[in-house]
Symmetry: C2
Subunit: 346 residues, 2 copies
DNA sequence: CTGAAAGCGCTAACAC
DNA sequence: GTGTTAGCGCTTTCAG
């Protein structure tokens, strides 16, 4: 615990008999400092084991070199993977990453944004909480000149950069695939909260039905459930008990799909012969269970990289100030055993 | 993009006709400021929409209010869950959390620590990279007076606080369970890198064998593999091909165990009748696949909370300066179908 | 190309 | 209890 004063640019200046401002310039590679002095300064810096005091530099320039990230849950595979992408890209550009989670609660999200603003983050990347569609607090940050970019989820009516998935069109492709495989009646397992992502995933199925001249009203029943394994089990057991007619379970995420599979197998049904089951998001588990589950792969990592790159660009060139840009990343259909009657070579 | 100057304590002072230092004291709830002025100051602060400039305060106090976290991979379920725990506990204590990943590479880890030291983090929580057993860079941080605490993994020979799992004794319990179930010959799938965690997990099995008077040398064959699903598949296929004798696969993580299960099922073997398979870490998937896999549950979230709480305590009271404290968290055996011949009520 | 000097916003002695 | 004063370490005008 050696609490010795650390070396400053003044120490370097004194040692070299020059002025501290020259040292500052030299270390920042200012163009009009001679190469000779730059070299001297750098050498002395390493010799004295100089480390810049970022805090001081931050105060002076009122830049923190930090970007804030807010996600609902850090430990969700999708989000932690996005974060991994963010972290890589941010570090490459010389930024630190400050992380916090909203737990899908509006209050916590507001508090997080406040803390980040106080910490003078230079920008915020957020996938907003499902609770509440009101983006007041986000708008405020924007008004303070701090760019806030959305990824995966967003609020309508806030003009800013967004990086999203083309869930709707991939959901349509998924729907078409299911129809082709002979699916006729869909059981839709959707989330309890109203969110852009769930709406899109449902809309895609509707698109698919309409594109082949079928009717949503008679071919789809839906249940709002907690999108968990247990939620999926319960929902399917309910539907079976009630004798509802369906031959496809379309769950809005893989966990619920896994639950559906378990419930169906337990009831002695065959997948995909009797029932097809599909999910969304390509959780690692969906590939490993039996039968493996057809799903939609979203490149979370790419999403993190992309939205970070956009933010860094914006920070580099404040004036470019695009009002609102929406980037849609391609998700891809991953067809597996649970929906593929063709090749039953299991 | 309103780039107006934000209000400072001086503005508040001027508006109230008092001195800025009084404002500072009032806002920091200094004991010898009268309640009356405190109230006035606070009201004026909210009225003027004052937000403290953390950067300035940081410089002055040379505290950043930030703790750094370094993990091998953010997106690993175990680590993202630890991080979730860290985040919660840190925020509760008023700290921000700076995150970075080492990708199990020593170089990156060193760089991360440097960056964090430059950012003046007040403490670092790290699960060190598998690459390299040399903790030079960590020792340096400690020597600079920045506490570095280990979680999950650690380096020998560095005196500091650690929060670990009792992997060895749970592995012993796991071993005893397997012996009780009639296991006789173990195929050990271990990681390629030399790391405390893998050593402990293997040592536990040895303990179990010895505790019942059996012999490691004749009852255990082991393979160093990449601890992935593919690694597990390949390893088991190899062993089967070579005709090695074993009736238990003990994988050092769940992914490899899942691979082992897949390879055995594909070869037409029955689990657990012919072969038992066990893993480690309780990945979500291990419960969901068929057969469900016996594993060891490590409370990652608790680990994050615990190590953070220790760090916060240390930061609060610099002088307490415990040289080295090791906390062992209890992991628990989770017995599932893949190792349980008794109740084959599948 | 380099030096002098001011100050970012806040805190902490030290006075009174 | 409150005011005065002096910086924290760095950047950035403005001179020369």
């Amino acid at each position: 615990m050696t609490k010795q004063k650390s070396t400053t640019i003044h120490d370097i200046a004194d040692a070299l008999g020059i002025n501290s401002s020259t040292v500052s310039r030299a270390l920042n590679d200012h163009p009009k400092v001679s190469e000779k002095t730059k070299k001297k300064v750098r050498e002395m810096a390493t010799q004295l084991n100089y480390r810049p005091n970022v805090l001081a530099s931050n105060l002076r320039t009122s830049r923190s070199g930090t970007i804030g990230v807010i996600v609902p849950f850090i430990s969700r595979y999708f989000f932690s993977t996005v974060i991994a992408g963010i972290e890589e890209e941010a570090h490459k550009a010389g930024y630190n990453v400050l992380i916090s989670q909203s737990k899908d609660r509006l209050e916590l999200e507001k508090k997080n944004i406040k803390t980040m603003m106080d910490s003078r983050v230079e920008g915020i990347l957020i996938s907003p909480a499902l609770e509440g569609t009101d983006g007041q607090h986000i708008q405020e940050a924007l008004d303070h000149g701090v760019p806030v970019f959305f990824f995966d989820r967003y609020h309508e009516g806030i003009e800013t950069t967004k990086v999203l998935m083309n869930d709707r069109s991939t959901a349509k492709a998924l729907g078409q695939h299911l129809l082709q495989e002979g699916g006729t009646h869909f059981l839709l397992l959707t989330g309890q909260m109203d969110s852009s992502i769930y709406r899109d995933r449902a809309a895609g199925i509707k698109d698919a039905l309409e594109s082949t001249g079928r009717d949503w009203a008679t071919q789809v029943t839906s249940q709002k459930i907690p999108l968990t394994v247990e939620g999926g089990i319960e929902a399917v057991e309910n539907s079976l008990k009630k004798g509802e007619v369906f031959d496809v379970v379309y769950a809005m995420n893989d966990l619920a799909a896994i639950g559906a599979v378990q419930a169906l197998l337990k009831a002695g049904k065959k997948i995909p012969e009797d029932y097809m089951v599909v999910g969304f998001s390509n959780e690692p588990t969906s590939e490993l269970i039996h039968p493996s589950i057809t799903t939609v792969n979203q490149s979370a990592w790419t999403m993190g990289k992309t939205v970070t790159r956009k933010l860094v660009e914006q920070l580099k060139d404040k004036e470019l100030s695009v009002a609102s840009e929406t980037t849609i990343l391609k998700s891809e259909l991953v067809i597996r055993t649970s929906s593929s009657k063709r090749n039953l070579e299991r």
